[in-house]
């Protein structure tokens, strides 16, 4: 059993605080993804769990052991590094078996387990090559193989896919998912790519400036972002945010456009409150080309500034109340810049955030 508990974990570099007291519970066999922009402290947090970084304050527990002062080798974890960190002077076979050899495993059993891992990851034909003779994707798989042969309690991944091209990244993402279903181990996975986070995670932890911004299942975080930061970070293209005021029982944008207050939020706001209206591009579409045709909504006329056809859909850049707004057009139709179209905003999934704090009004 390996649940992980972070209890007010703090990291300081000299006088500089980079992680400000993180509380997090990770269940046994759970796949948790830490996601956030560059420099927010994801790697630092992961490395504190691994034992590669001293913990300046708080407790880290793996299972029921406090591991604050245990060296990495006593934590029964394995880690996949961003640039793989293979041992350059060992061939693939030796790279995979190194941890077992150090642990004093019998040779026959090392051979067996290395072969198994190589089989799972399709590395069997490459066993005698050195890392220098492998492609990026192959090195990445060796790094993963090295992590799984040891059958650790916890897998730690630090942006393992960020050095791969888009296609390979997609493939490897699927393989990691499958791998987790096969080996069922607790996983902590760091990425700044929200697509990876959404697709892999049982639970997403969104981080910002050394703090946890929101924790929840991918759908929960996507559908109910607690702050404007999460709202724009999760989901691509990002959610549109429009400053507005509640006035006359409606959400009034800067240019006076009135949008009805979404029903489920109507008891959360009072007249005169300054808010930010959040609405995803998927929910703004030219009339007749949207995902949902009924439900509460509002129609506005906007001019197309740019249209990017993506195949089944087009991304449309337009402007509303002086702000750039991204919208989506579903169904085949060519749109030209300069065209004025009537757009429908579907409001059943719209969000309202407090203008000052950026927190969702559902939170007060």
């Amino acid at each position: 059993m390996a649940e992980i508990t972070l209890d007010k974990v703090v990291k300081k570099y000299g006088g500089l605080d980079v992680v400000h007291g993180i509380d997090l519970q990770i269940a046994h066999e759970e796949f948790v993804v830490l996601v956030g922009p560059s420099g927010c402290g994801k790697s630092t947090t992961l490395r504190m769990i691994a034992g590669l970084e001293d913990i300046s304050g708080g407790l880290v527990k793996i299972g029921d052991r406090v591991v604050n002062d245990l060296p990495p080798r006593k934590r029964n974890i394995s880690m996949v590094f961003q640039n793989y960190a293979l041992y350059p002077h060992m061939n693939v076979r030796e790279n995979l078996g190194f941890g077992l050899k150090i642990a004093g495993e019998a040779t026959a059993s090392i051979v067996k387990r290395v072969d198994e891992a190589a089989e799972i990851l399709g590395l069997t034909p490459l066993l005698d090559r050195t890392p220098a003779e492998l492609s990026g994707g192959q090195r990445q798989r060796v790094a993963m193989g090295r992590a799984i042969v040891r059958r650790p309690d916890v897998f730690l991944f630090d942006e393992p896919l960020s050095n791969l091209d888009a296609k390979l990244r997609g493939q490897m993402r699927a393989e990691i998912k499958k791998l987790h279903q096969k080996v069922r181990t607790t996983v902590v996975y760091v990425t700044h790519d929200q697509v990876e986070a959404m697709t892999l995670a049982d639970r997403i932890v969104v981080m910002r400036d050394g703090r946890i911004e929101q924790v929840g299942s991918p759908m929960d975080v996507f559908n109910h972002p607690r702050t404007t930061f999460v709202a724009t970070f999760i989901g691509s293209p990002p959610m549109n945010l429009l400053p507005a005021t509640i006035s006359g029982g409606a959400v009034r944008l800067a240019d006076g456009t009135a949008v009805p207050i979404p029903d489920r939020l109507s008891d959360r706001v009072h007249e005169g409150r300054r808010v930010t209206l959040g609405i995803r591009p998927d929910d703004i579409s030219p009339v007749g080309h949207g995902l949902s045709q009924d439900g509460p909504g509002a129609e506005v006329e906007m001019e197309v500034e740019l249209a990017e056809p993506l195949g089944m859909e087009s991304l449309i850049y337009t402007r509303l109340a002086g702000q750039e707004v991204q919208a989506k057009l579903y169904g085949p139709r060519l749109v030209q810049p300069g065209e004025r179209l009537s757009f429908r905003m579907a409001l059943d999934r719209a969000h309202l955030f407090d203008a000052e704090t950026g927190r969702s009004v559902r939170e007060d």
């Binding site: 974890i77 590094f81 960190a85 041992y87 350059p88 941890g99 150090i102 220098a132 003779e133 090295r146």
Partner: protein, 300 residues
Amino acid sequence: MPFWRRESAIPYLLLLPALAIMALVVAFPLIFSLYTSFTGYRLVRPDSLYDWVGLRNYSRILQDYDFWVAFGRTVLFLTVVLNVEFLLGLGIALLINRITWGQRTLRTIMMFPMMFSPILVGFQFKFMFNDNIGIVNNALQSLGLSDGAIAWLVDGKLAFFSIAFAEVWMSTSVFAILLLAGLFAMPRDPLEAAKVDGCNAWQTFRHITLPFLMPFAYIAMAIRSLDVARAYDIVTVMTDGGPAGRTELLWTLIARVGYDNSRMGLANAMAYVSTILSILFTWYFYRKLVAARRYMGGAQ
């Protein structure tokens, strides 16, 4: 059109001066000395230059007890000195690598011994190891560690030790510098991966750091093996191969045969045999280096 007027001849014509100089300063002495090794050439009798004796010098060397003792002693000297320098250099490099403050200054200070002429280093240690007035004996006696004067440069084994000591003092920094460069170039990731893979500090060093440093060590060894195999100056100053030939190395012996006994033909034959020794050592380390670099090269 004659050959030298053709366009295709131009590169060769341009190379000609360089080739001529090379021939004059490298090829000619090489061939000349090789030739003399087949003659009974004596410096005091110039006409003996034409005294072709075939392989007699070489066959004489094969049976020459003194030569083979010097040969063996040189190999021993090389082995001892290179290993000690490697271990000390590694230690120094690891320590300096740890230091965060004043590292540059220390790196510079570390190189001081290399800045002295070997002759001066020889004189310095000759003085320090002198049995009557030397500082080493003085210190040992003052500390009560020895009661008599130890004959550092007279006893065969001690003299060998003293010379090796001087050599090590002078050149350990070659290893230290190169290994330190290796440590600076060392990627941090594999070290961390090893820690996570279950290595303690010693295992990490043994399985990750050391293999990474070995190419740097081989470079240092290749350089130093050439240096040490031709050791002459320090030995000449400190003991002059004596007493009674007990610290005779190849080149002190060769110089004695060639200049003191003026048997240049024989000396040249010895020199050729010793050169082979140097080449073997260098080739060996070079092979090691190439093998080690094969995996280090393109990795990551």
